[in-house]
Every structure is written in C-alpha cells, then in structure tokens.
Symmetry: C2
Subunit: 380 residues, 2 copies
C-alpha cells in the first residue's frame, strides 16, 4: 500500500505542482474576488442575523441553483456540516446502529469505504454499471446502498431513471439509499431534482451535498446532510455530538458564491474544467497514455497507462519531477489491482498548471529512465 | 431526557437571550475588530503561503501563548481539525481499535461520553476529586483515561503534580492518557506546560486543544490534536479519512488572534469573564440560588437551586421568559440525578446579557408561578 489517497494529497500541499487533490485551486474569477474582498463586511452582516435564517438562505441558493427544488429546506432535516466527509461519517455512524453492512459503489474515493469500515460496517462493492442493470442482488443483512454520483474519480452519473428504480427497490426491500453528490455542481447531467425522485420512491434516504468542490476559497465550505421524513436514522444525534453550527460567516459567503455561480459562475467553472480536460487530452494524444473517461465532466481525470505499466512507478517518477498526481489503486477499495494502471489528475486548476503537469506526464511516460512506462516509440 | 446539551444550545440560537452555549459571543475588542476588517487581505496572504508553514506558525502562536512550549510543533504529530469535537472523535475511533473501555471524568460535557460510546467504548466515570487521590482503580480492559481540564461545566483544573502522577501511572500500566484542554486559554492555572509533563512521564498520550472557546469570530476555529512519539494510536489515519486540511484563512486568522491575545487579549478576556461571574454572583446574593463553583475561571458558571427544586422546571420557566440556559443533568452522564439541581449559564457574553439573564433568573426563582423553584421568602 502506498497509503490513503488523502495522505498522498497532503504531501502535495507541501511543495511542487499539485494536481493531486480534487479541491478547487484555480484563480478566483473577478466576481469571486469582489466577494472575497468584502469578507470583513460579510462578517458584520453574519454577526447580526439569526443563524437559521442565514443557513436556510444558503441552502436555497445552493440547492435550487443546482436544480434540487425538492430538498427539505426549513424542515429540520437539512443540516450544515463542516464538510461532506463529516456528513458521511454522521451517516456511517447512524447506519451502524441499524445494519451490518452497506453496498457501496466501486470504485470511489477511499475515505468513503474507510469511514464506513471504521464504523464496523461490512461493505459489498457494486460496480457503476450494475446500477444500470436493475436491482443489486444483496444479502438480507446489507441494509443500505451508498452511491457517489457524480462518482470520483470516474465522473460516472446515476441518471434519473436508474435512480428511480434503485430507490423504489430500496423502498420495497426496506433499505436506506444514501447519495453523495459532492461533485453535482460540476455536471449538469446530475442536476435533475434527485430529492423529488427520492421522496416519490417512498424509500428511506439521506443525501450528502458539498460546496467544497466548486470555488477556490481556501477550504471555506460546508457539507449539507439531509434525509427523508420517514428515514429512521439517528442523524441529528450524530450531528449534535459533533457540532453546534458551522460558521455563519462561511454560510453567508457560500450564499454569495452560490448566487454568483447561478449568474454565470457555474458556466465559467464548467468551461475551465472542460478546457483543462482538453489540454490534458491534447498533451496525451499520440502517446501510450489515454484519457480513461473522456465524457467525464468532473474536476478530475483518470489517465490510463499501457497494461504493462504500473501507476506506482509513474507516480514516483512524476514526484521526482515535482508533480503530484494520485495513483488510482486505492479508489478500487475492493480490488486495488483494478486501478493499477491509472492515475488521477486534478483539473480545478489554472490552465498552465494542467498544461505543465500534462507535459511532464507525457515526457515521463516516454522517458527511457522510467522503464515500466516506456513507450515503444518515443518519437512518433 | 430533555435531550442532548447541544440540542438545547441549538434552540438558543433561534431566538431569545442565549446564555446557553459556551461559545464566545461577546462583542469583539477593538483590536479583534481590526483583524476582522482585514479578512480580505488575510485571504490574499493565506492564498500565497504554503499551508504547512501557516499551520506551524499558528500552532506556535497559540500553544506557546498558553505556556505549552513542549507541544510537538513541526513533528507531524500535531494536526489541525475543524473543531475539538472532531479531534475527540478521531481519538475515540483510534481508542476503539485498541481498548474496550475508557475511564472518563465525571461530570463533563455530554458529547464526550456520547462520541466515545458511539465508537462502542465502555465508559467508567471518575469523579474530579479522585484524580487528586492517586491512581484510579481500573479493570484491566479499561485501556485509556480521558480528562477534560479545565473541566466543563465545573472549571476544575488538573494541576501539574496530579497530572504527573496520573501520567506516570498510565505509563506503568500501559494506558493511554487523553487530555481535552479546550478551556485552557481561560484559566492560567491550566497553563503550565502539560506537554512537558506528559513527555517526561513516558506515557502514551494525546491532547486536544481548542481555539473555539476564546474569540467571538463566528465559529472560525480549529481543534488541535497532538500525540506523543510513542503513542500507538492510528490518529493520522482517522484524520486523513475526514479532511485534507482546515482552511488556511482560518489558520492565519487564528494566528493573528493568538498574537493579539498574548498582547493583552487574554487579560481582557479573563477580566470580562471574571466581571460577568461577579455580575451573576451579585444578582443571586440573598436568593435561594448559589454559585456552585465560585473559584471557576471558565466561561460558564453553574448555579445551584435549593435541593427541593428541579432544574428542569427552572429551565422551562426561563425559556418561557426567552432566556436560554442549560439544565445540568446531562453533564452527569453516569448519574444524571446528580445534576438535577443545577443550571449552567454562559459568561462569554456582553455584560448586559449576563446581567439580564441573572435578573430574570433571580425573579423566576422567586416567582410564585414557578412552585418548584419558589423561595420561602420572596422579599428578603
């Protein structure tokens, strides 16, 4: 094991070119810069207003801006957490009180299986494609299904019809359906009203949303955890044990950023990511490296090496040149070998950063000093 | 059960006079106001600097400012979490991998036992006084001791000599010693170098520090989790599953606030809290209500009712008048009845807020409409 993905991402914060973590690190847009310049005034405003009012406004701006008109605003079933990971852990704790195991999408970012396992939940991997093939075949003791959509690192999206089918099946079989939609803001295909589908299904459900993948505001963010009227999980208790509230200033800032996003900010973000994906694809063209999911719209891209090459060696070779990427074994939490030939590159960066990383990547993949990644013809 | 303490505190955020939670909600000082007005520039600075450098500077400013010169700065064994509760949960998770049970100070804020219990740890209550009487008498399977010092709600402090004795005993018996020092900044008696004592003892230890009790900056805060060189707990793994990093902006802000605090800010804070404690004591003088721990220096105070009166009824009567306090049963997590006659009042507030709350409290305690809290002579 090279280690947890976040451990590797953490090394990338220290030095070098960081195209490792999926957090947004591109330059602020002009309107974001204006919002940030007003942080001092936002503080004064947040100080004066009741937290609940602020929070509900932010929930509305963020969730309605992403098409989630049926999200349970103002019901007490929509909580603001420090992060989506904290929200996932609250869900994991509540699930552990109720069931022995969870069916979890495979692959996905390794902190999700690790948080669930730390709550002593048994995990059953479900490949993305299986969610399109009808209800999974699960043992009785697997009482919940957890889907990351859009998924990280693949960008795969669970569409409205498959979600409706899965949710109905969960309702019929008494299982809880959990969605982690942290990357929703990056892909309009994930912006149909998921809450409507979940509510209409009659299933017990929980959804984790995240503002933290969208705006380069130095980790000022929140994760939103909501659940259905009939969801029998102790989510509020788990929340109350961890926090009284997130920062009202952060909530007000997120409100402004969400408003700005609906007025063109999302479009600019989607263009930046698409542009960076094209830069990466362009640098790889004609090499032995391929874009694994060219249709993905999220802010990370997987690059596949030739079958004979290991991503571990490439990761190390890039590291030696000061470029931090992620090797993908750990995403395949039930079968690390399935990720042995892939690396993940972050795209929520300045274009020059992606271009530099892509150039070094293309060089390293052809470098005779890096035999495992050596291409048969270095100058095609 | 009335509910978790945080659930009650959360109600106090909605309306009325909130002397419920222990978070700082007094007006900013002039120098704090200047720091906040510069948030926009702090953002620019935080954007440019490596996170690790920022973080270490903040750790130094905060921990050295509180006398903790032996804290493990720059060792990789000092992590910045979203909050002290998140840090406690990371410790709870790691302890659960190693031991079946924890000896925990009694009383203390209920989220600590609840977070430990949610990790399936068995708890053994240890009264504060017992820590002064020599090593506790613990079953073999209780592999850790958890002490909140200064303790919430009592303000009790574990002194240097008793800590040294406890730590040596933990070293001899192979137990982990965990300190939650979240209220340290409010009481100079807790500002001897705890890390030196822990390191010299040879024990395995972890310490949770908190910036969140000191400065009224809208929950922009961090919890710091550190541990000893020989502490065999998977704390870094638990951290990596939850977060990549806290906000660099928050870290830089905390640095400035910590610097300001050592240049007079702590003194002003201690004076405010002492002044508010005196206001409360003055309003209760001659009533049937007493300050339970007049020597406490932390930002909450317990008020004891006559033995015949229940704090639940008083809590409700205050609530009816728009004043939110905390009834103290839940602090006594192993024996709620022991807190049945106490309420807790927050002191990190503007003096007028404490004065108003104290006046209403004195009135309610004498109000014939509130029989259980009725004083024998309403006009002494």
């Amino acid at each position: 094991m090279i280690g947890k993905l976040t451990t590797l991402e953490s090394a990338a914060l220290r030095s070098g070119l960081n195209v490792s973590d999926g957090h947004p690190r591109m330059p602020l847009t002009q309107s974001q810069r204006t919002i940030i310049a007003g942080l001092g005034e936002l503080f004064e405003e947040a100080l004066k207003r009741p937290f609940e009012e602020l929070a509900e406004e932010t929930h509305r701006a963020f969730l309605h801006g992403l098409g989630q008109h049926s999200a349970p605003l103002g019901t007490g079933r929509l909580l603001s957490c420090y992060s989506s990971s904290v929200a996932i852990d609250i869900v994991a704790r509540a699930l552990a009180e109720r069931t022995a195991g969870v069916a979890l999408i495979h692959p996905t970012f390794d902190n999700i299986p690790d948080l669930l396992k730390a709550r002593r939940l048994r995990l059953v991997p479900i490949p993305e494609q299986a969610f399109l093939d009808g209800p999974p075949d699960l043992a009785e003791e697997i009482g919940a299904v957890f889907v990351t959509t859009p998924n990280n690192p693949t960008g795969w999206v669970l569409g409205e019809q498959p979600l409706a089918g899965l949710a109905s099946w969960c309702a019929r079989t008494g299982r809880v359906l959990v969605l982690d939609t942290s990357f929703r803001g990056q892909d309009t295909r994930a912006q149909y009203d998921s809450y409507r589908v979940l509510i209409e299904s009659g299933a017990e459900w929980a959804v984790i949303e995240d503002t933290g993948k969208l705006w380069p505001v130095l980790e000022l963010k929140a994760g939103f955890l909501s659940w259905g009227q009939h969801t029998a999980l102790s989510l509020a208790d788990g929340f109350d044990d961890l926090l009284l509230s997130v920062s009202p200033l952060v909530m007000l800032l997120l409100n402004r950023l969400a408003q700005d996003a609906t007025l063109g900010g999302y479009q600019a973000l989607h263009q930046l990511i698409a542009g960076n994906r094209a830069i990466l694809a362009g640098a790889l063209a004609g090499r032995q490296l391929t874009m694994k999911e060219p249709q993905s719209r999220i802010s990370v891209a997987q690059v596949s090496l030739p079958a004979a090459s290991g991503s571990g060696a490439l990761y190390q070779a890039l590291l030696a040149r000061g470029v931090h990427v992620l090797p993908c074994r750990a995403f395949h939490w039930a079968d690390p070998q399935a990720g042995a030939h892939d690396i993940r590159i972050a795209l929520a960066r300045a274009p020059w950063e992606v271009r530099t990383a892509a150039t070094v990547l293309a060089e390293v993949a052809n470098d005779p000093a890096e035999p495992s990644a050596k291409a048969p013809d270095p100058h095609p």
